[in-house]
Symmetry: C2
């Protein structure tokens, strides 16, 4: 399977994407990679790794432009035709690659994928599905940042896509879907969630009602649905709070010799927690709803994160997540229990 990797995207590009690519080539023998970015720069980077055994499974695709973090995502698609992100999307569009991975500008990746690949039949707006660690097993948070002013029917589409992702990639049978809100009662929430609640109740999904922020890591649900603004804030706040607690604890543990000794003896426990809460373990979030497989990795992706993002891309293509989505959305529309999910551009 051939995957396009935006080698210029992310805070540590190109060294981190290239190192991640090498890790992935070593671990997944069925993988071929197209490294997209400045040729000279990428070839120099590749030479730092002893690529010999996998050399024939990696190829550089030259591009001359990079989307900077401060740019407008949507404008970058129009103005930078030769950016590494745009090129990755085109490689998927023309069939040269089965999927793409980028740790670059999220808005630019979402815009390029939406404009060039178009959305899946029956879906209006794509959503980002992130996998979040929780006590018993991880859950899918959708949308974690693609669509910041969502409509109720779009949240229903996210619920469908998130449920299919949990089923196909995380192997969960009949995933429990919850709506993120500010109280568990039906009436609680804002205009958007109260309307979405009604639609979800009527759907064929295993909808278990509202979930509050306080229960996110305790209550056993598999998919948490929200708009992209709330999802992005929640995702980043949860990461920040977990990190803040560990950092404070680390400093407290250094205050005297007895505590330092205690910390040394308990090192294994700290390492387990660090691993459990490490976003790099989950690698990348899937942009669901576009007609192609597109993985959005963390801006600060380490080589391990890039490798795991490539794994998610490979698994998603193998599981035919998009095919299942199209089929399920078609069934939903046929049953006619709720409004169309593609209210903006209904299929004629």
């Amino acid at each position: 399977m051939k995957i396009a990797l935006d080698a210029m995207g992310g805070d540590y590009a190109p060294s981190s994407p290239v190192a991640g690519a090498v890790l992935a080539l070593q671990e997944f023998p069925d993988l071929e990679l197209l490294l997209v970015g400045d040729q000279t720069c990428l070839e120099r980077e590749l030479h730092r790794h002893s690529l010999a055994p996998w050399q024939d499974r990696v190829q550089v695709v030259h591009t001359s432009q990079v989307v900077a973090m401060g740019e407008s995502g949507i404008e970058s698609v129009r103005r930078k035709k030769d950016s590494s992100i745009s090129r990755c999307v085109e490689l998927v569009k023309n069939g040269a690659a089965s999927a793409l991975v980028s740790a670059g500008h999220t808005g630019a990746t979402v815009a390029a994928a939406t404009i060039k690949l178009r959305t899946l039949p029956g879906i209006d707006r794509p959503g980002i599905a992130s996998v979040i660690p929780a006590e018993e097993h991880p859950f899918v948070l959708i949308d974690s940042g693609a669509n910041v002013d969502a409509e109720p029917a779009e949240l229903v589409a996210y619920a469908f896509m998130g449920s299919i992702y949990a089923e196909q990639i995380l192997g969960i049978v009949r995933p429990r879907v919850a709506l993120l809100s500010i109280g568990t009662e039906d009436l609680k929430g804002n205009e958007l969630t109260r309307e979405a609640f009604k639609l979800l109740t009527r759907s064929s999904l295993n909808f278990v009602g509202n979930i509050e922020g306080r229960d996110l890591f305790q209550r056993p649900v598999d998919v948490v649905v929200c708009d992209g603004f709330v999802g992005n804030v929640v995702l980043k706040t949860a990461e920040a709070a977990a990190r803040a607690v560990m950092d404070w604890l680390k400093r407290e543990l250094k205050r005297n010799v007895v505590r330092k000794m205690g910390a040394f003896l308990a090192l294994g426990a700290f390492r387990t927690i660090r691993r459990k809460t490490d976003p790099d373990e989950y690698g990348g979030a899937l942009l669901l709803g576009v007609n192609g497989t597109c993985i959005i990795a963390h801006g600060a992706s380490s080589p391990k994160a890039i490798k795991n993002a490539l794994r998610v891309a490979r698994d998603s293509v193998k599981a035919n997540v998009n095919g299942v989505i199209v089929e399920e959305v078609r069934k939903y529309h046929e049953q006619g229990h709720g409004p169309r999910l593609d209210v903006l551009s209904p299929a004629s």
Copy 2:
């Protein structure tokens, strides 16, 4: 100073509010309390405490109704005229109490306070200001749950009120105000925050721009502004993430004898963190923008949390937070740098 305490509100009422009242009477010699709720029930509860020296500073105000958690907040105000929440608000309205504290139904408290006390001149919608612990010093999060479908001008009003709260209660000179969004650049955000960003830039506040969830506990800001839906989700998610990490760690530390020994030696460090992240330390959130002092405590408030909520009420009245808000909002409207903050009901 006389404060009305909703003794029927909260998950552990009436025992926790009554125990908290006793703690506060012991600690604050200038405090007098009106315990509002079922007389028989509250007198029985009071008898469990040796009240002798403070007995003359506490008085029971009988009410026959309680607002249940599943009820609609706004309807409860109309239908349960004799609820403990409504009665507390009336005691403030008619001057019998200087402030009220409730750990009961947040929506009902917000609705009763807004309807009966009305908003301050120049303010349309009240907002809940919560104090959140962070590494260097705590910050004020406003709105954390009163107004779930806010308008841009309402966010500007929250910025003013939060700034005044940080100044008057936390003692911060010229507080740094940030807008919670999904990127630090001006353009990032949803319709609501992009519009609020423009207004805040033109205000006289010390506005430092957008803040992302990831920086909440690291970047030194004093006030974080958002709508009530996002604020409530963020508050609860941060608490849940911090607690989840500590709980996982606790279980990991029990896995073998060496780790247990390590944990024992490091006990002091764990206790410091527990205290630093304990919501009970901050007691209660101030409902800012209503014409009266109203403190909303956590539903699961312990006696310590109730005592601290009473302390916040007392400090807010002493600092004349509402008087300062009215004055600052008047000045803002006079200067005319931005739209009126009371767009819905402008002063004639």
